[in-house]
């Protein structure tokens, strides 16, 4: 047995010493690890607990039900409809996606583009995220899917809510539509709801104007999720607030009638209450079907809307500007009497034209009207009479009177996109053209041509103000949620009663006395008669040569070059209740179609008025319900 040598002894002591050092180092490391644990778990434990909770708990927004839009009697104009959908959950499929789609397509129709979208959606999402295969199914289709469900693994029927407009294009420009949220919308509003997939936001009309109220507030569902975002379970739910209902001043029956009367013309028409400014009906044709935008409009449909020369997407009632033509003479007449120019004995001799310097200003009637006073001037729309009135008034008084009647100013109707139009004046001319106002321009302005541009809603407002003698403003929203909308205080119009009565007389003569420009299309029924003023707005310049050889008839011109046909009216003549304005673009053809529309709609509106026919609408009270006893 070999013995240990001294060297062995020395290396053993070295080993022991160094092992001790190593042990010390290991102890230090373990102490360090413990310190780190102390730091993470005790000092920062709460903070990491919060972060673990953030990981685990997801707040999911629950979209609120969108508020309805109703007419003045509570008829639903925009509502929510059950949206029957078929969803596909890729991870639950027994077979391939195509096999599942084939199986579904044997029950309901699935287009190739739907197929592509399904594949794309599946590719973009986790395999447990449901993908929409088809939506807006009929109840029958939905029932068929449910019947076959046992053989369709991974297919999930689902009921959602979607916006629905029962009257299609009849109210398109009032209601507007809802559509997917755009990037700009997100910049504009800060509502987390906008990030919700499939969320819809109001894009036009009432849907846009009252979107914050109609939208409601989001509910929150707290769910536990795993690292891949799969929902494990719901931890709690806070219900949101459904959106507010909006009650309009519109009478859907009148609206329907108006849309019917306007047909396919490129036209704008509005009926309003002359006392409080309530819009009873407002139509701009052609319209569009707002339901199309909800599900995503097809490119072809969108192109059809944007390339149509009748401009279906434009609300012509408030966004279309037209020269008022002779309808402007109402304002001129009012100003003239008020200014003491058109006194009872005042008359002008019309020989078919008037001259100013080198310029000749023609009357629409070749040969002239002879001696014309205010009433005949309005009744027969004599241009020469109003050239003279305008010359005497001067542009400043014309401008001022127009503004008092609401022309050239935003009316403040609760619809987005309203335009102010133009009432020219000295300052305006200088600012826009850099040259001073010319007297000849005053004359042209006097017959509502030249620079004057108005919207149909302004013309209706003017008619309503003349009819009531009050400064009314058009309003379309009556109640939003539970709040009755406040209206501007109704002040008396700043024209003398004498002036207002004189214009009433003239406008009544237009329709109710032989020789009036609208006499053939008057309302005959006693007590329902209307007063009005026709207008024809030139959209082209008539050359001297053409004037000499005879002005071309509108019928012989291409549609684009024909004159606009306008009419403003109110009814009944005595104690006026409703005012109306109708503009048909390039429609001055044949027997004044715009007057016929106004006549029919005013007659219809008056007959709908419960106050006019008390017997037709028996008002139920506690006393007249049989068998009902009022307990004292």
């Amino acid at each position: 047995m070999p013995l240990f040598d001294r060297k062995d002894k020395s290396r053993y002591s070295t080993f022991s010493r160094r092992s001790l050092l190593v042990s010390g180092a290991m102890t230090a490391v373990f102490t360090g690890l413990t310190a780190r644990l102390y730091q993470l778990q005790i000092l920062q434990g709460d903070q990491f607990m919060t972060r673990a909770e953030d990981n685990r708990v997801n707040q999911r927004l629950v979209a609120p039900l969108r508020g309805r839009i109703l007419d003045r009697f509570g008829v639903e104009l925009a509502t929510n409809r059950r949206n029957y959908r078929v969803l596909l959950i890729p991870e639950q499929l027994a077979d391939s996606v195509d096999a599942a789609l084939d199986a579904i397509s044997r029950i309901i129709a699935i287009s190739p583009s739907q197929r592509d979208r399904v594949h794309r959606d599946i590719g973009q999402n986790k395999r447990f995220v449901p993908v929409t295969v088809a939506e807006n199914l009929t109840w029958e289709e939905f029932a068929r899917i449910n019947l076959h469900l046992p053989y369709l693994s991974g297919v999930q029927p689902d009921v959602g809510e979607t916006r629905f407009y029962p009257f299609n294009d009849e109210l398109s420009h009032i209601l507007g539509y809802v559509a997917a949220v755009s990037a700009d919308d997100k910049k504009e509003h800060e509502d987390p709801l906008l990030d919700l997939p499939g969320f819809r936001i109001g894009k036009r009309g009432i849907e846009k104007r009252f979107d914050p109220e109609i939208r409601g507030t989001a509910g929150v569902s707290r769910v536990e999720v795993n690292a891949y975002g799969r929902v494990i379970r719901e931890l709690g739910r806070e219900p949101g607030m459904p959106g507010s209902d909006v009650y309009l001043t519109i009478d859907r029956q009148v609206q329907q009638k108006l849309a019917e009367l306007m047909g396919n013309e490129s036209a704008a028409a509005v009926v309003m209450d002359v006392h409080n400014g309530d819009i009873i009906a407002l139509a701009s044709t052609p319209g569009f079907d707002p339901n199309l935008f909800n599900v995503g409009i097809k490119t072809s449909e969108w192109q059809a809307l944007t390339t149509n020369d009748h401009n279906p997407l434009l609300n012509k009632v408030m966004s279309g500007v037209y020269p008022p033509g002779s309808t402007y003479k109402c304002a001129m007449a009012l100003a003239a009497v008020d200014a003491g120019i058109a006194t009872p004995g005042f008359s002008v001799f019309c020989d078919g034209a008037t001259t100013l310097g080198n310029n000749v200003f023609h009357c629409w009637k070749r040969g002239g009207h002879g001696h014309v006073d205010l009433k005949r001037g309005i009744q027969q729309s004599c241009d020469v009479f109003f050239y003279e009135v305008a010359r005497r008034l001067g542009i400043d008084r014309i401008e001022e009177a127009s503004h008092r009647l609401g022309l050239g100013r935003l009316t403040g109707i609760e619809l987005p996109g309203e335009r102010a139009g133009t009432i020219p004046g000295r300052a305006w001319k200088l600012a826009n053209f850099g040259v001073p106002w010319q007297l000849g321009e005053t004359l042209v302005t006097g017959i509502g041509q030249g620079y004057v541009l108005t919207t149909p809603i302004q013309l209706a407002t003017m008619a309503a103000r003349i009819a009531s003698g009050n400064e009314v403003y058009p309003r379309i929203a009556r109640v939003v949620g539970r709040d009755a909308q406040t209206r501007p205080e109704v002040k008396a119009l700043q024209f003398s009663d004498k002036a207002i009565l004189a214009v009433h007389e003239g406008m009544s003569a237009v329709t109710n006395e032989p020789g009036g420009t609208a006499y053939p299309w008057r309302i005959i029924e006693p007590g329902f008669e209307m007063a009005g003023k026709t207008g024809t707005a030139q959209v082209r310049r008539i050359t001297r040569e053409e004037r000499a050889s005879g002005v071309r008839k509108n019928e012989s011109l291409p549609w684009r070059l024909r004159d606009h046909a306008l009419f403003v009216a109110f009814a009944p003549v005595l104690e006026p209740k409703y005012a109306c304005a109708v503009v048909i673009e390039h429609g001055a053809v044949g027997p004044h179609p715009q007057v016929q529309i106004a006549r029919d709609i005013l007659a219809f509106t008056q007959k709908r008025d419960p106050a006019r026919l008390p017997n037709a609408y028996p008002v139920k009270t506690a006393e007249n319900i049989p068998g009902f006893k009022v307990t004292p």
């Binding site: 080993f15 690890l33 644990l37 778990q41 607990m49 990981n55 536990e224």
Partner: protein, 384 residues
């Protein structure tokens, strides 16, 4: 002096006698730590033995048998086996490297022998400790610091470390180098070597950076600033810290960890399992496990000190340090103290190869313990 003691000194114990000599306290301790691992694997699977806990238990039992079997073999035989084992491990490493390059695979870390997957790098961890202990056993303290004598162990360390590094497997390479250097230190390497070497390593860090793989650089950068990229590469570190930290003092309760159960934790059953212990058992549980590890290491040091042979001492200490380096690197990694390297938590993390390596290591440690009275002369080459 009893008869058995006398026999032990001469290395002439029968198998039943050797079984009595086994340090059963250490075996129980190892079993306890492995038991914690089973509990966690059961919890992470959502309260199920499948897919992890059951196979792990099975592997542990196999490992236990291997441990005892190795403990029964005389350490002088292990001394004989040391160089051949090292040579085989090195050859296999070369083979994996070549096959990896030829096969065109990214990280080639194992060789397939039919159904069995062998990781030569794991085999090398044990073989290197064996071979170095064998070599250093023959040197006096003065010899260790002689340049020519020192060159051999340095090459023995560097060759496998280099091969593992280019696999690439930074974690294992670091452990190999650490094991080797620790053994040189314990054998009595002069401070005149140690101090300049440490200074040299520190100076070489920027150079090493240049040679790192992109993924390794990314790991280091991510480690230095995990919040910068907390959904990408920083995700692991951030989530690991959240998991540990959210356990607080007493933890969320067994089976109630949210981070692991909801899959926010990457590699939750392997490299990051320690975070789940922190989450479900809190500071108390995490420190308790560290204490258990500390006890095992304490046993290891005591066994090393009580061995009468330099080979036994170095082998015991080498195996213990190898175990320690696993724990240190893994714990520091999941606590966000060092960059992410693929090193499992010994006895706890799910995985067959690591379990086998650790149990073989403990087998050798136990062999040293059983044969602690055997004296081996400096110039002896073992039993044969």
């Amino acid at each position: 002096m009893t008869t058995r003691h006398y026999a032990a000194e001469r290395g002439r114990l029968s198998i039943p006698e050797k079984l009595l000599e086994v340090n059963w306290g250490l075996v129980v301790l190892i079993g306890m730590i492995a038991g914690v691992g089973f509990l966690m694997l059961y919890s992470i699977a959502g309260g199920s033995f499948q897919p992890w806990a059951a196979p792990q238990i099975y592997r542990f039992i196999v490992g236990l048998v291997i441990l005892i079997a190795i403990a029964m073999v005389d350490i002088r035989i292990w001394m004989n086996v040391a160089y051949p084992a090292y040579a085989i491990a090195l050859l296999l490493l070369v083979a994996t490297t070549i096959m990896g390059k030829v096969g065109g695979l990214g990280a080639q870390r194992w060789i397939e022998f039919g159904p069995l997957q062998l990781q030569p790098s794991e085999l090398m961890k044990i073989s290197l400790v064996l071979a170095l202990a064998r070599y250093l056993h023959g040197l006096s303290v003065e010899d260790v610091s002689r340049p020519l004598k020192l060159l051999i162990p340095l090459v023995m360390i560097a060759a496998p470390a280099f091969l593992v590094l280019i696999q690439p497997n930074l974690g294992t390479a670091v452990i190999l180098i650490a094991d080797g250097c620790a053994l040189l230190f314990l054998a009595g390497l002069s401070w005149w070597w140690i101090v300049p070497a440490i200074s040299g390593v520190l100076a070489a860090i920027p150079v090493a950076w240049e040679f790192m793989h992109d993924y390794q650089k990314r790991r280091v950068l991510t480690f230095l600033n995990p919040e910068h990229d907390s959904l990408g590469a920083g995700w692991n570190i951030s989530q690991a810290e959240i998991t540990i930290g959210s356990g607080g003092v007493a933890g969320k309760g067994y089976l109630h960890g949210t981070q692991s159960h909801l899959n926010f934790l990457p590699e939750k059953q392997t490299d990051f399992i320690y975070t789940t212990i922190g989450e479900e058992f809190g500071f108390v549980g995490s420190v308790a496990l560290l204490l258990l590890f500390g006890l095992v290491i304490g046993y290891g040091i005591r066994i090393a000190m009580s061995s009468r042979s330099q080979f036994g001492r170095l082998l015991a200490m080498g195996v213990t340090l190898n175990f320690f380096f696993y724990i240190m690197i893994n714990a520091a990694m999941v606590m966000g103290l060092i960059p992410v390297v693929g090193i499992p938590m010994p006895l706890i993390s799910y995985g067959g190869t690591a379990m086998l390596t650790v149990m073989v290591g403990f087998g050798l440690l136990m062999s040293v313990h059983v044969h602690r009275f055997v004296e081996i002369p400096r110039h002896s080459a073992g039993l044969i």
